[in-house]
């Protein structure tokens, strides 16, 4: 078959259009990057130009304290900035870790998971570390224990200080998308290795596997199957823990980068109508979380099936509510924050609120005091 004139003309036109689109996109990216450098981009950590290895790089400046409780907004801005930069700057940027003085276990997991995602997105480019010896020793140790340098495939590994007896010890993160049972068991074994054994590990296992199963069932569910397959390597969960043997306190965390619990629960048609009308001015993420964890309401699941949606309240919350000792559950999903805590002898306290910034995905944290001496409440 011969190619006729009109075919050639349309091919040339298509190519011209493609080039034009690329030009516009490049200009948009350039404009965005310039606005970021000028500090005009909201919900982003500051960016400066920094000369490293005889080349000028856009450099994200993290806040001094990374903490989801004390410095939530700045911490989320950093996480979102890293993701944005990884997607728009083709991975050619720096994050100045010298600025970080303090990191909470939750913020450390968020940061490590984001860098792991960055590595997954750009598999041909290796992430590298510069001037690690200038970082705060505590921050370097925490990141090292959490597996940060292994994510970066860093060789040789930067020096790591021995922890003090009062320091939190971190456990290397585990990630995956299937078979949550093995990872939950591994995490429990690693917690046991660091100090006293968990008194009732069944409850921890139940909560963890339900949090991870939720990721597969709801968090990354997409109507577009091709899109779901394309991003399948990023559709994972990350779990980790920290242990403080001097205070006998354990923190266990699970994170996913999915749609979020609050956004995946079914709503009635009226809500979508109001949302279309009022847009971003209405947000009920926190209320959705309360419903998801409240035993008195009907089980809520994104599937809409009556027999689903039990895992969050029975296992994820159940791990805290089954204890007589002090324990706390924190769930951040989208813009919603849900907290459930109880102490021995006092009634459980539930709080929820709308956050200033949206966490991309769902973060679940259990803080259990006296974890080696848990007294299980038999109901």
């Amino acid at each position: 078959m011969r190619k006729n004139k009109s075919w050639k003309a349309s091919a040339i036109s298509r190519r011209r259009d493609a080039k034009r689109c690329t030009r516009i996109l490049t200009k948009k990216k350039r404009d965005l990057y310039k606005a970021w450098l000028r500090g005009e981009l909201s919900q982003h950590a500051p960016m400066v130009l920094q000369t490293t290895l005889n080349r000028e790089y856009p450099t994200i400046v993290p806040p001094a304290h990374l903490d989801l409780e004390a410095n939530y907004t700045a911490t989320i801005d950093l996480i979102r900035s890293i993701r944005h930069a990884a997607e728009t700057l083709s991975g050619q940027f720096l994050v100045d870790f010298k600025n970080i003085q303090k990191m909470s276990p939750a913020a450390t997991l968020l940061l490590v998971a984001e860098c792991d995602r960055w590595r997954q997105r750009t598999p041909k480019r290796r992430l590298s570390i510069i001037d690690a010896e200038k970082w705060d020793p505590g921050v370097r140790r925490r990141l090292g224990e959490m597996g940060f340098f292994e994510v970066l495939e860093c060789k040789p590994l930067p020096p790591r200080e021995a922890p003090n007896s009062t320091d939190d010890r971190f456990i290397k993160f585990l990630t995956g998308s299937r078979n949550p049972g093995d990872s939950a068991k591994d995490l429990r074994a690693k917690i046991d290795d660091l100090g006293p054994k968990i008194a009732d590990h069944h409850l921890l296992y139940d909560g963890l596997v339900e949090a991870m199963t939720n990721t597969h069932q709801h968090a990354y569910k997409q109507k577009n199957k091709r899109r779901q397959k394309k991003h399948s390597t990023l559709q994972r969960w990350w779990i980790s823990a920290s242990v403080n043997t001097s205070s006998n306190q354990m923190t266990v965390m699970a994170l996913d980068h999915g749609h979020g619990i609050a956004r995946t629960l079914p709503r009635n048609q009226n809500w979508w109508h109001y949302q279309t009308l009022l847009g971003r001015f209405i947000n009920d993420d926190a209320r959705r979380l309360v419903v998801a964890f409240d035993e008195s309401s009907q089980p809520a699941s994104s599937t809409g099936l009556a027999h689903r949606g039990k895992g969050l309240r029975e296992n994820v919350k159940g791990y805290v509510s089954s204890h007589d000792s002090a324990a706390k559950l924190t769930v951040i999903s989208n813009k919603g924050l849900y907290k459930y805590s109880q102490d021995s002898g006092s009634a459980p306290v539930t709080t929820s609120k709308i956050l200033e910034r949206e966490l991309p995905g769902t973060f679940i944290q259990w803080v259990i005091k006296d974890y080696s001496n848990e007294r299980i409440r038999v109901s």
Partner: protein, 112 residues
């Protein structure tokens, strides 16, 4: 009635059962129900299920494995009361036993 069969989940299936469907885990509730539980129950005798010797059970696993017997497998609550025996020898695993019967009952009544 045929002789009873013993299913030790930790020995015969997995020490790390988790998840609802096979897409989530090789050791999901659906896999346990289809590969082990239903074939044993179809033999007609009583089936004893030992819950000890595993890391634990999430609600998704238990609901799909046991609630699914009624919802998917077509067994009635009354039939299972006669032919299914849940054995839990420790305090930790004992609470799963009550949950299992709750899920079977709910699946039978069609209520959440």
């Amino acid at each position: 009635m045929n002789a009873s069969a013993l299913v030790d989940i930790g020995r015969d299936f997995s020490r790390v059962p988790a998840g609802r469907h096979v897409a989530e885990s090789d050791f999901s509730g659906e896999a346990f129900r289809e590969k082990i539980l239903i074939p044993k129950l179809r033999q007609g005798g009583t089936v004893e299920v030992l819950l000890d010797n595993t890391e634990g059970y999430g609600s998704s696993f238990l609901e799909e494995a046991f609630g699914g017997l009624v919802r998917v497998g077509g067994f009635s609550y009354e039939y299972l009361k006669l032919h299914l025996i849940i054995v839990a020898n420790s305090t930790a695993t004992n609470r799963y036993s009550a949950k299992i019967w709750e899920y079977i009952k709910e699946a039978g009544s069609g209520k959440p």
